[in-house]
Amino acid sequence: MAVMPNAVPPSRPAAERCFHCGEAVPTGTTYPIRFADQDRPACCRGCQAVAQTIIDSGNADYYRLRTDLPKTPEAALDELKQLKLYDLPEVQQSFVKSEGDVREANLILEGIVCAACIWLNERHLRQLPGVLAADINFSTHRARVRWDNSRIELSHILQAVQEIGYLAYPFDTGRQEALFRKERETAIRRLAIAGLGMMQVMMYAIPLYMARANTMTSDVQALMRAASMLLTTPVVFYSAWPFFLGAWRDLRLRRAGMDVPVALGVGAAYAASIYATFSGGSVVYFDSVTMFVFFLLTGRFLEMNARKRSAEAAESLVKLIPAAAIRLPNWPDSREEEIAAAAKLVPGDHVLVGPGEGFPADGSVAEGESSVDESLLTGESHPVRKRHGSPIIGGAINLSSPLVVMVEKIGADTVLSGIVRLLDRALAEKPRLALAADRVAGWFVLGLLVIATTVAVYWFFVAPERALWITVSVLVVSCPCALGLATPVALTAAMGRLTRMGLLATRGHALETLARATDFVFDKTGTLTTGEFRLITTHIVRGDRETALALAASLEQGATHPVAVAIRAAAEHPGHSASQLRYLAGQGIEGVIDGHPYRLGSPAFIVAEPPPLPADLTLVGLADQAGVIAWFGLGDELRAQSAELVDSLKAMGVRLHLFSGDRSANALALAGRLGIDDARGGMLPENKLDAVKALQQTGAIVAMTGDGVNDAPVLAQAQVSIAIDQGAEAAQAAADMVLLSSELSRLADGVAIARKTQGIIQQNLAWAVLYNVAAIPAAALGYVTPWMAGIGMSLSSLLVVLNALRISRPSQKPNAGRLR
């Protein structure tokens, strides 16, 4: 990201934009912020408090340095009590290292959008009395904090971060993390040794190459060779060791991997050079060996980082569960609180989750109402309202007010673990294309060994002194890595990107098939629509909407059928009490409110001509003795973005079908509204199955989109199936992909990414073939020295990896992605 020197909102729009977060300032509110002797507007008390804290603590430069606007801080500023949890020794033991009073913990920081945030957080933390050190890793958004526990407690540190508008919580660095760090350190060490060796050996090699005949005594020459040998030895036996190990493993399993030619090349060149050093032979290849190893290690190191970045999406999920929870052991009799480690909760426990905290397990709301951020789990960017009985996903963040949650599922049974397992499965299953590439690479290496032997034998008879390095060049220059690397790197990158968007691939082949899909089949209810009966339009004949709805809701007070539920949900004040209620099955309900009789029901029941409302709505009329008061049109509401999804898929040239179990009229009306040409209603699951089979017989590759449960057989029949789901049942879904996000249009993005991935894999394979066809003959003819071969091979691998990484970067919306 380019660092723009000035991200202070310019002064004119500052009149209506919040100085801190850039949101529009609601009219009639004043939350002034004092900045550079001027009053600037803020949109809410949260922004005002955060901005004032930042400015008062002497960090006003943040507003000059930042390149991106922060999120509006949630009003979670005074929840010190909740943070106190983290001060307890039993909670701290999982993530805090302590030496006496000096303690150290890793924190995850949320809300970091640009480099200035890092600067601000570091400075703010370091200003706290008692904080000994605070370092924030720019790439991972994690902070390592050391503090003196006798002077400041962890909860105060966390609160200090909240005060400037970010969220911090400690996490257990876990075994995976530790392993990766060790692996990375080893890789850097090997790389460093190889790089140093390469540079110094080159210093000795250049005089050997450049010196004119007889200017260098054979003593000096021997000394230089000996020094080169001394430096090359650790490069071969330490830096290049993984290649030898890999080759040995491959040979034992009787397959030809990519390490085999590399190990052969390095080994042969090194052995020949040692022989030449001691026997006073003509040429040594120490420079080529070190350079080759260095380039290869560089390629592997970059690849390792790329993989890690792709896998991060899955890993970040695991760390969402907080370490501790407030348990209410005697709820609802008393609100006595006790602290429990999240891992020790059992189903049936009640826990209190305050605003700004994560939910420790899956469960349902037992008390309270709040909005919840599930974005990391579902990709859903808007907070979700939760009220009594709403399901809660462990790892989601409670935003506005405290909730009492009954724990229902813990540990491996939770949605979060399910998602992680699905991801693991998808990553473990190799797609067909990758399998094919692996097989090809195997044959390729075998072929290469045969060619190398032939070349060696040929040159041994033609020009024995060149035979060795030509053979080494042939072994080295070929790049089976590009073949073997091209596909997996691209797929990992694509999966990481999709997961962050809320579209989870649970099968290895899903991406590949999605890219080739020619026909999309949608289910109606629960897929293109929300699946809930809701009041969609009201047509008022007399009076106003509020009153009419209140009357209708009062009549439907005790009823449980969908129409009643929908009307009650729409009415804000059910107010009146109705008496003498009489329910007539299939027609309607009548009753008396305030002495006046009312009727609510079908057009026939209230004897009136209905107004022209869309055909797919169920009409209910409200009437009194004087006639009709209002008409209510109830229906299954379209999901937001259904239309957008249909449009983008059509633009991609995909044929669309709507197979619904609902009445034909409804299906047709909906399809007409969305612009889907082929709509069929009244279909039983077996009809849908047959229809999909019929499509497939015409050669179509069918992607089936359904809600995962009742569409199971059809989902299984389609080449690729996508379950639309709100998270809860995601873990059980048998589908190849699960859309966790409620934003339907992500599906179209998914298709676009799948196609891009496919394209990039093909580019990579094409490059690998082209490169090898050109490079191997050139090397066999002796035009390529071993070090040139090393560069060629490494560049080729690197090109493939970098090309694949293009997938993980969003191509549009430059400000939307997080800085990573």
Partner: protein, 64 residues
């Protein structure tokens, strides 16, 4: 040319020394964050705000 008899061994010693420094740096986590320092250099201002609550020696410690 005789100087080479001395220079080459010295260069070897130097390389070994640099290698040790590099290994020490890796062990100390100097390579953990490869992006941050590039930005940090732009942010660092030369006049740190003094914090009245802090003792002088602490400020010194943090400056390191």
């Amino acid at each position: 040319m005789d100087i080479l008899y001395l220079l080459i061994p010295i260069s070897l010693v130097l390389v070994a020394f640099i290698a040790l420094i590099l290994l020490w740096a890796v062990r100390n986590g100097q390579f953990e964050d490869m992006e941050g320092p590039a930005y940090r250099i732009l942010m660092d201002d030369d006049s740190p705000v003094s914090n009245p609550e802090k003792s002088d020696d602490e400020q010194k410690k943090e400056a390191n």
